[in-house]
Symmetry: C2
Subunit: 335 residues, 2 copies
């Protein structure tokens, strides 16, 4: 909540257009989620309510809603499908936080911290199943194929990420494969659904490509921000990735360009997880020395540009403008 | 493998009929699983191969296969759907073992013990998504509805079980609700699929009811065996449930009938998890004193009888005989 408010105040123009276009739809998605959860057993409803009310940006379901508008969709199928997208994402978050042993998300205690790892694993499973129930109720096999594929690819991306933990010599390509799988594919699917519900198959691949690009940019910037954002505004601790030995693009770039002494530093801190208090500051200094953060943000900028190119194929409209704003907002998160 | 062989030798007649009827189909299911996994990234294929080759009974996919035969099915849809059922079950096992911190399953180290909790959580997610991919490829919304409902109910059952941990005053009804959700519903769905692929809607509820009954009996006997089976033949440690504070029917019966001193014992050992070496033996003595194991097995016998009644509605056939044998095999596991 605080986080959202802060960001929107800092960049007043950015998401306003989108929020006013999809505001009612997003309320319907939230209501559907809360309605669906209301009659659940307490531990399930407590955890889901905790996540739903903890101020996430809802960027993935928002993409489904705004892309449906971009395709001039007039029905209601996009509401439960946006909820399905959010549930798949939330299930991933719950399991991620268990896997990463995270204590904070968006400035609030994580569900695993509040309710325990066991409940987080099981409620994550419940949410994923619930997402499929929404899709089955929608009744489109195309939707089911898109989101079951996305869900399998996300899980695979998370495993791939696990395998690169503590491996600063990971290649940029391998890192981009992980980003594509664990993040961009759900963005892509969320966007594609807008064309699917509108029954405009000729627009599916355009929106999918748009989603892949914006999703990749989003993750690159997230990985850069882990080393620069201050805790108050981002609601997460600076250096989380570093402490977990997570190898992201800034690290890969600094490792590649580093002296053998620097390589030893990365191996000690990330591979051996042998870290002392000053190491995070030293890591940040090395990232600055090799301009790793700037290069990461610059690469994100290229993906943002790809996203804009895909949008150019659509005729001008309020929703297209809102999507351009979203790309700018994403690019500007880094500053 | 050893476990299966041991059991089959001890009860030579029991599963022979079923195994010879569905042997080829079950091989096709195994091949499909291994084929599907072959090209996956190493950590995923290692974990799945470990589970597939660790000698599970495959009772759930076997139910789909034999029930399809009972309905005179001639096609091939039952193979990938049986694999989907097995994947849903395996995903649950992986997450269960993380949640329960189990170290042994069927006498072998659990996946979480060998590959770590993180990998087990993520590969479980992958398997669940893969199950949905099999269903989407099958293309029947009815199948997708049955198994997405089952998957949501299983997750809910696991959460309900988590909430009764350390609560020996749990009611029998609550316990049965948990068993129904976490175990019986997947048995029921596995059986129902036999009628669905055969396009015999009039048989769906009969097979579903059969599956609910046999699944409930299966879990009741499993919970009884936790206090009596010897580690060599069952491949799991006696008293696992006790050590984890899991409240199963034998405990509920002994607690209900127990003196206040005995109630204090159950509270100390299960609610406070304050256990010393002699406590498991004392727990087993109390279960014997109140005939809790015998009563649990007797209740399982009633569910087996219900299962037989459902089968009576089908005309005599080799597959019906094999299913009667399976019921007997299930009932006899306890002795």
């Amino acid at each position: 909540m605080t986080k959202n408010a802060t960001v929107i105040t800092a960049k007043p123009a950015s998401l306003d257009a989108m929020n006013s276009l999809i505001g009612n739809d997003l309320k319907s998605v939230n209501n559907l989620i809360l309605e669906r959860v209301k009659n659940e057993i307490p531990l399930i409803s407590d955890i889901i309510t905790h996540i739903v009310s903890s101020g996430g940006k809802r960027i993935r379901p928002a993409l489904t809603l705004i892309c449906a508008q971009l395709c001039n969709y007039n029905g209601n199928r996009h509401i439960p499908l946006a909820a399905a997208v959010e549930f798949i994402h939330t299930a991933t978050l719950l399991h991620d936080d268990v896997v990463d042993e995270s204590k904070l998300r968006r400035g609030l205690p994580t569900a695993n911290e509040l309710f325990g790892n066991k409940a987080s694993v099981l409620v994550g499973d419940f949410l994923l199943s619930q997402a499929f129930q929404f899709m089955v109720a929608d009744g489109s096999l195309k939707v089911l194929r898109i989101l079951s594929d996305a869900s399998a690819v996300i899980a695979k991306g998370e495993v791939m990420q696990l395998m690169t933990e503590g491996e600063p010599q990971t290649t940029i390509q391998n890192y981009l494969d992980v980003v594509s799988a664990k993040t961009a594919v759900l963005f892509a699917s969320a966007c594609e659904l807008g064309a699917v519900v509108s029954e405009k198959p000729e627009l599916e691949s355009k929106l999918r490509n748009f989603g892949m690009s914006i999703g990749t940019a989003f993750q690159l910037i997230d990985d850069a921000l882990d080393y620069v954002a201050d805790e108050k505004s981002l609601g997460k601790s600076v250096g989380d990735d570093f402490r977990e030995g997570k190898v992201t693009l800034p690290i890969i770039l600094a490792y590649e360009a580093g002296s053998s002494e620097e390589k030893n530093f990365w191996t000690r801190t990330l591979s051996d997880l042998n870290q002392c208090n000053e190491d995070l500051q030293q890591a940040i200094s090395l990232l600055e020395k090799h301009q790793s953060i700037a290069k990461t943000i610059s690469m994100a900028g290229e993906y943002c540009e790809n996203a804009r190119q895909e949008l150019m194929a659509f005729p001008p409209s309020l929703s297209r403008t809102a999507l351009f704003d979203l790309v700018d907002f994403c690019a500007n998160r880094a500053y």
